[in-house]
């Protein structure tokens, strides 16, 4: 039986709200990056843009939003399709393996992002 201990906030409202808020942050971030790209960038202006603390913090916020957004989304997908109901016992094994893989990938991306920003 699928329980909700592995959901992000363990409550429906908090996951739902976080999914929306992180979505808005990501939209704002990609609009910001998009407008910089449309204006034309070279190596120097790109580097200058990421020298500022504001941009780094904004980028970190976007990375964390992406991590939360991805976790909530992938968790929902795995609890819809990789279940005992649909696949028998192996659904449970597959779901847990998938969730561990997702969390590892997300963790690596967050660390890697921080390294790029402040490395």
């Amino acid at each position: 039986m699928v329980r909700s201990v592995t959901s992000f906030g363990r409550s429906g409202v908090s996951d739902w709200l976080l999914q929306r808020v992180s979505g808005v942050i990501l939209l704002a971030y990609f609009l910001c990056i998009g407008s910089a790209l449309v204006g034309g960038v070279d190596y120097l202006s790109w580097r200058d843009m990421f020298e500022g603390t504001g941009m780094r913090v904004f980028t970190l916020l976007a990375i964390l939003s992406l991590a939360a957004h991805a976790w909530i989304g992938m968790w929902a997908v795995s609890t819809d399709y990789m279940t005992e109901r649909l696949m028998g016992k192996k659904g449970n094994v597959l779901r847990i393996a998938f969730q561990i893989a997702c969390s590892l990938v997300i963790f690596v991306y967050v660390i890697w992002g921080v390294q790029i920003l402040w490395g």
């Binding site: 039986m1 699928v2 429906g12 709200l17 929902a76």
Partner: protein
Amino acid sequence: MLQVSIYRYNPETDSEPSMQDFQVDTGGKDLMVLDVLELIKSQDTTVSYRRSCREGVCGSDGLNMNGKNGLACITPLSETVKGNKLVVRPLPGLPVIRDLVVDMSMFYAQYEKVQPYLINDTPAPAIERLQSPEDREKLDGLYECILCACCSTACPSFWWNPDRFIGPSGLLQAYRFLADSRDLATDERLSRLDDPFSVFRCHGIQNCINVCPKGLNPTRAIGHIRNMLLARAT
């Protein structure tokens, strides 16, 4: 002659379900799908389905007709038949008991979870608990549900998690009591719904609105519940 293909399955004799074809003479009339089923039953008495009132009130004959859920008794052929062919299957996602008859236990279990009755422990007045006309109006579009299960069995989220997602029909009823000015259990009701599955498995697919034979809008009711949960949590 109308070509009708019916889902057949008798667990006692069949190893797997199959489709059986029938030719039905509709006499050129725009019959209801239920009338066609009755004509088929006169050809082959073993064809099983549920029916009762035959006028869209009891909610017994929810079926999948040419891919869309609805009540056979109020679905005219002109609305569903394309190219002289009618395919009738049981409501999707529920276990089949026989032919077009499904086991609704999971559906009713979700209905039961929302405590679909008035909770109010204050002493009852001599005649009845009164509501203002405005408060009564809030129940319109909610109380009319006949529990036919057309909506919940058209909902992919209900197909994947019928044991944990309450489904459009149950949630419409949950909101019917959350919106009732006479009900005093709003907070407990909301507490019971605030997990990642009961309400929040609704992804706004809106199949429920598309199929409801009573023209109700479960998605909107679910939106109201979500707003109540949000208001309470933030």
